[in-house]
């Protein structure tokens, strides 16, 4: 066995794993998905007959996918907690792999799940946006469709780049909950809230939407550089968080 293939298998299994045993079965999930698609199609058709929908004017609709980094916080947290809930933690934590790899696999599985959601969101918004534009203008404008898709791709890739950070943070919360550090959870939430508000203040100066071509502002190379630096810094922080989660799993869990 090589630890690389084992590590990859752990990630793949966790990406496939459903988050809750109480989830509706496959048949019902298909019913719910079909109902959601139908409802969205009806709303898109109605809106496009009431207003003139040009793709360049609805580009900011991509910001809907801002929920992706937020849910990527929840994925690894649920994956870790499920090991305890489903009594599989004994198998997981006695695998002959370093705890850092076990923790990193959960974090990357969280990112993988977020990537899958991003893909579906991207496909969904692309189809609905182009459909609404065709219904409204009675023609398919190839160049504005491509611009619409490019803006969506940029925005979704940007959000996906934030996921390692949010996912590693969720991992820390999940492991903390199962460790002797559990009483420190309120402090960790407070630290997160403070970090969020500081991040929001800094973020306003960047005008991320313009920067990614969703608004009407100028994209400057300096601002893009700032975003790139912030993303790399968030990945470094993610490594630190994974290391901390590994420490909690190694030294601070009372099984």
């Amino acid at each position: 066995m090589s630890s690389e293939t084992g590590f990859a298998l752990l990630i793949a299994r966790d990406i496939r794993r459903s988050m809750s045993s109480g989830k509706p079965n496959r048949h019902w999930r298909l019913v719910y998905a079909a109902a959601a698609v139908l409802a969205l199609a009806v709303v898109a058709t109605y809106e496009s007959t009431q207003h003139t929908m040009v793709l360049s004017s609805i580009t900011p609709v991509w910001t809907i996918s801002f929920y992706i980094p937020i849910i990527s916080f929840g994925f690894p947290m649920a994956l870790v907690m499920n090991e305890w809930r489903q009594n599989t933690v004994g198998w997981w934590l006695t695998l002959p792999l370093p705890r850092f790899q076990l923790a990193a696999a959960k974090c990357l599985a969280g990112v993988g799940k977020a990537a899958r959601v991003t893909l579906w969101t991207f496909l969904g918004i692309s189809v609905l946006g182009i459909y609404a534009s065709i219904v409204s203008t009675h023609r398919l404008d190839i160049s504005s469709s491509l611009a619409f898709l490019a803006a969506g791709l940029r925005w979704n890739l940007f959000l996906l780049c934030l996921c390692p950070f949010t996912s590693s943070l969720g991992l820390v919360f999940g492991t903390m909950r199962q460790s002797r550090w559990r009483p420190a959870l309120p402090i960790a939430w407070a630290a997160c809230a403070i970090g969020w508000s500081i991040g929001n203040k800094g973020g306003k100066n960047w005008n991320t939407k313009n920067l990614l071509g969703l608004g009407h502002g100028m994209i400057t190379s300096e601002a893009l550089l700032h975003v790139a630096i912030a993303i790399v810094a968030s990945w470094l922080l993610a490594v630190l968080f994974i290391w901390f989660a590994a420490y909690l799993l190694e030294r601070q869990t009372n099984l």
Binding site: M1, L10, Q86, N87, T88, N254
Partner: protein
């Protein structure tokens, strides 16, 4: 160097003055014991006697508050876990997996796992490779988990309460399979169980714990010669 080597050959597990506390409850209290290699050893005692805690410390799932532990001549760590097949207490297998998925997982993640041996054991234990864990009875799932441990060619197997919650027929089938399998291999096996009546033929060494302390240990045949049976010793010790 010679002493260390002899020590490694002689003992699978060595604990020296090991203490472990969960809040106010003392799970292990200055426990010192040496478990010989190549034997099937029963770790026996009532609930709360420290059996599962001992196994968790051996596997590095928990850290001792005091004392020193050696397993296969090393301190517990993820590296030494390569050589140990461990069935955790009250464990379940991953929902959504089929038996084949579980075998794939074991092949990639559990060193020494023999696919050939696992297929044979699945046949003996009447587990279909296509069966889903969600659709299994408690007994079938327990058989699968024991199979995943026994199909590993490693020097040490640790089974924590492998028969709990399993019906008599499944229990007998598992024990028969273990006896058959262990007789053909040079391996140390530690088993904790309440079901001593059925498991007794399996054991050739016994360790009795109570409230985290060692109260008796020794060769099973010698203990039987003095006291009749291990089950009888248990009844006398914990009456």
């Amino acid at each position: 160097m010679t002493t260390t080597l002899e020590h490694q050959i002689e003992y699978a597990v060595k604990c020296l003055q090991v203490g472990k506390r969960y809040g106010r409850s003392q799970a292990l209290c200055n426990l010192s014991l040496s478990l010989p290699q190549g034997r099937t050893i029963g770790i026996l005692g009532p609930n709360g006697s420290g059996k599962s805690t001992l196994f968790r410390l051996l596997m590095g799932l928990s850290q001792p508050d005091s004392g020193h532990i050696e397993i296969l001549g090393q301190r517990p760590s993820w590296q030494v876990n390569r050589d140990i097949a461990y069935l955790p207490d009250r464990a379940r297998w991953y929902v959504g997996d089929t038996v084949r998925d579980a075998f794939r997982y074991a092949q990639r993640l559990l060193p020494g796992f023999s696919q050939h041996l696992a297929d044979n054991l699945a046949d003996v234990m009447e587990i279909s490779l296509h069966m889903k864990v969600d659709a299994m009875s408690r007994g079938q799932e327990a058989r699968l988990m024991i199979l995943l441990c026994v199909a590993r060619e490693v020097p040490l197997i640790i089974l924590d309460e492998p028969f709990s919650g399993i019906d008599l027929l499944s229990r007998e089938r598992i024990i028969e399979c273990l006896i058959h399998h262990m007789s053909r291999r040079e391996v140390t096996m530690l088993v904790s169980t309440h079901e001593l009546h059925e498991a007794e033929p399996l054991l050739d060494h016994a360790v009795f714990l109570n409230r985290g302390e060692l109260i008796m240990s020794g060769d099973a045949d010698e203990l039987r010669a003095h006291h009749g049976s291990l089950e009888r010793i248990m009844k006398t010790l914990y009456a």
